[in-house]
C-alpha cells in the first residue's frame, strides 16, 4: 500500500556534536545532566533574538498569574 503522506519534514539544524564527541562524553561517566547537555545549545540565535524582543518584564508576575484548579 503506498504511503499517502510523508510524515516527517526534515529541516537542517546546526550545532550537532559528532558521534565521537558524544561517545566520549558518555564514556567519561554519567554525571549531572545539566553539565552534559550544557554546551550543545547553539544555533538558536535568531530564536533568542525573537524572544528577547517580546519578553514581558515581570517574569514572577507572569508565572504567578497562572493558577487554576485541577481538571480531569
Amino acid at each position: 500500500m503506498p504511503q499517502e503522506h510523508k510524515p516527517v519534514q526534515q529541516t537542517n539544524v546546526q550545532g550537532a556534536q559528532t558521534q565521537q564527541e558524544q561517545s566520549l562524553a558518555v564514556e567519561q561517566g554519567q554525571v549531572n545532566p545539566a553539565a552534559q547537555y550544557a554546551d550543545v545549545a547553539e544555533g538558536l540565535d535568531s530564536v533568542l533574538d525573537d524572544i528577547e524582543s517580546v519578553l514581558e518584564n515581570n517574569a514572577e508576575d507572569y508565572v504567578n498569574h497562572f493558577v487554576q484548579k485541577g481538571g480531569e
Binding site: 519534514q9 554519567q30 545549545a41 530564536v47 517574569a59 514572577e60
Partner: protein, 478 residues
C-alpha cells in the same frame, strides 16, 4: 508470528485513536484580574450563542467543551490513523487560539487595553495543580488488565524520554514529564481523586462485548506535532503486539518488562534525561529506561517486519515511526540534545533555556518558568512559533492542513457522519440539534424530530435513520 500467518487485514489490529486535551487559562497585564471561570465563559460565548451550551461538537466531529475547573477541553473525533488524530488535535489548538483571541478583544473592553490571554497546552499551573492530556485507544476486550499492567505500563513509564514535555519546578529543578509527580497507581477507575496511569472507566463508545476503551492518562500535552504522532504510533505498535499475541496465544517477548513499582519508576525516569537511572523490575532484576525502551523497539521492529503487509500497521506509518524511535533512543544515549530538540518537547525547551543562559548567565528561575509556560501558550506564546519559523522544530502539517482539519472529519470513521451532521445542522435555520459520540438528533419547527444511532466507530456509512435525520436538516436549510 510468520508473515504467512498474517494476511492483508488482521481484525485484531484495527484501532480507533483519540486525544482529549485540557487547556489552562491565565490573563496578564489586566487592570484587575478576571478569574479563569469568567475567562472560559467569555471564550465560549460564540459556542453558547450557536449551540446554547458550553458542550458541543465541531464540524470535524470533535467535541469542544468546558471541563471541571474551567478548563477548555477538546476531544478529537474518532481517527483510524495517528496522523488523523494529530490533524484533529492541531485543529483543536487552532480553535482554542481563535476563541482566545476573540475573548481577548472582549476582555480588553472590561479589563484594560493591555490585557493578554494565555491558553496553555500544558499539564500544570504555577501552584502545582495538574490537568491532563488523555489518549484513547480502542482495544480488544480479550486483552487483560494484568497484561496491560505488566507489559504496557513499563513502555508508557519510559516513553517520556521522547514524549515528555519537560518542566522546571519552583526550585529550578528540571524534569522530563509534567505529569510524573502527580501519578499514583498504575491502573484504577478514578481520575480526579487519585491519578492512575491507565484509567479503567470503561466507555468504549462501541460494541462493548468486543472492545474496551483504553484511557491512558499519564502522558504530557505535546506542542511538537511529531511527538504527538510518535506517542500514538509507538503506543499503537505495542498494543498491536499485545493484542495479536493474546489473540493467537503467542509469547509477546515482553514478559520481563514488568516494573516492581511503576509509580516510583515514572518519577525516577522523569528526573533522568539520560535514561540510565536504575529501575527495579518485578522479577528482581534492574534495568534502566533506555534498556526497556530498546527492548520494546526491538520487539516492535520484529513485529512490523513480520506483519508489514497488514493494513492496520501500514496506515500507522510504522516504518517511519520505528526509524524516529531508534534515532531518539540513540540521541538520548549519546546526550545529543540538538537532534532530540528537533521534535522532542522537553529537549527543545531545555536547549532553548541553555542557549538563553549562555547569553544571560543569571537567568532567574521565574524567567525560566515563564519560558516554560510561553512554549505551551497557543494564544500569545512566542517560543514554539519562533522555533518552527527558524526551522529548529520540525513539523508534519502545514498551516492549511490544520485549517482544513477544523472543518473536515476523517472520512473513514463514524466521525464523517457526525461532522457532516454538525455542518448541516449549523446551516439549518431554526434547527435544534444534539449529538454525542454514538447519537445525533435534530428537530425543526413543524416536523417530527429524528435521531440516529451510530454504534460502530469504524463505520462511516449512513444508516437509514441517519439519512432521515439528514433529510430533515437539509430540508430546513432550503
Amino acid at each position: 508470528m510468520s508473515r504467512s500467518e498474517s494476511h492483508a487485514m488482521d481484525m485484531t489490529l484495527r484501532r480507533i485513536f483519540g486525544i482529549e486535551t485540557e487547556y489552562g487559562i491565565s490573563v496578564t497585564d489586566a487592570d484587575r484580574d478576571p478569574d479563569p471561570g469568567t475567562v472560559a465563559m467569555i471564550m465560549f460565548r460564540p459556542i453558547v450563542a450557536a449551540s446554547r451550551s458550553t458542550n458541543t461538537y465541531t464540524p470535524n466531529g470533535s467535541r469542544l467543551y468546558v471541563d471541571v475547573g474551567s478548563h477548555p477541553e477538546y476531544a478529537t473525533a474518532e481517527a483510524r490513523r495517528p496522523i488523523d488524530a494529530l490533524r484533529l488535535d492541531a485543529a483543536g489548538e487552532s480553535t482554542m487560539r481563535s476563541l482566545a483571541m476573540q475573548a481577548q478583544d472582549l476582555l480588553r473592553e472590561q479589563y484594560g487595553p493591555r490585557t493578554r490571554i494565555h491558553v496553555y497546552k500544558n499539564n500544570q499551573d504555577s501552584a502545582g495543580h495538574s490537568f491532563g492530556c488523555h489518549e484513547n485507544y480502542l482495544v480488544r476486550r480479550d486483552i487483560s488488565l494484568s497484561l496491560l499492567g505488566e507489559q504496557l505500563i513499563p513502555f508508557l513509564v519510559t516513553r517520556q524520554l521522547y514524549t515528555g514535555a519537560g518542566t522546571w519546578s519552583a526550585d529550578g529543578q528540571f524534569q522530563l514529564s509534567q505529569r510524573a509527580d502527580f501519578l499514583d497507581d498504575a491502573i484504577s477507575a478514578s481520575t480526579t481523586r487519585s491519578r492512575p496511569m491507565i484509567n479503567t472507566r470503561d466507555e468504549p463508545h462501541a460494541d462493548s462485548d468486543m472492545y474496551r476503551r483504553l484511557h491512558v492518562i499519564l502522558g504530557d500535552s505535546n506542542r511538537s506535532q511529531i511527538a504527538t504522532w510518535m506517542k500514538l504510533t509507538c503506543t499503537h505498535l505495542v498494543l498491536c503486539i499485545l493484542e495479536y499475541c493474546t489473540h493467537h496465544c503467542l509469547d509477546t517477548g515482553l514478559a520481563g518488562m514488568a516494573l516492581a513499582d511503576p509509580g516510583k519508576a515514572i518519577k525516577t525516569v522523569s528526573h533522568d534525561p539520560h535514561g540510565t537511572a536504575v529501575l527495579d523490575m518485578a522479577d528482581g532484576s534492574r534495568k534502566c529506561a533506555l534498556e526497556i525502551q530498546n527492548t520494546y523497539l526491538r520487539v516492535a521492529d520484529r513485529f512490523v517486519r513480520d506483519h508489514g503487509d497488514d493494513i492496520a500497521l501500514n496506515i500507522a506509518d510504522a516504518p517511519e515511526c520505528l526509524e524516529l524511535w531508534g534515532k531518539a533512543l540513540d540521541a538520548v544515549h549519546f546526550s545529543d540534545i540538538t537532534e532530540l530538540a528537533t521534535w522532542v518537547d522537553w529537549a527543545a525547551k531545555y536547549r532553548f533555556v541553555q542557549s538563553m543562559q549562555l547569553r544571560h548567565p543569571n537567568l532567574s528561575v521565574a524567567r525560566i518558568r515563564q519560558f516554560d509556560l510561553d512554549y505551551h501558550d497557543v494564544a500569545n506564546g512566542h517560543i514554539f512559533d519562533s522555533l518552527v519559523s527558524h526551522a529548529q522544530m520540525r513539523t508534519m502539517l502545514t498551516e492549511s492542513d490544520v485549517e482544513r482539519a477544523r472543518t473536515t472529519p476523517p472520512s473513514d470513521t463514524r466521525a464523517a457522519l457526525r461532522g457532516a451532521f454538525v455542518t448541516a445542522a449549523n446551516n439549518a435555520p431554526g434547527c435544534t440539534w444534539s449529538a454525542d459520540w454514538t447519537h445525533v438528533s435534530a428537530s425543526v419547527p413543524g416536523a417530527k424530530s429524528r435521531e440516529a444511532e451510530m454504534l460502530d466507530p469504524f463505520d462511516s456509512q449512513p444508516s437509514d435513520d441517519y439519512k432521515k435525520v439528514m433529510e430533515l436538516v437539509s430540508g430546513a436549510a432550503d
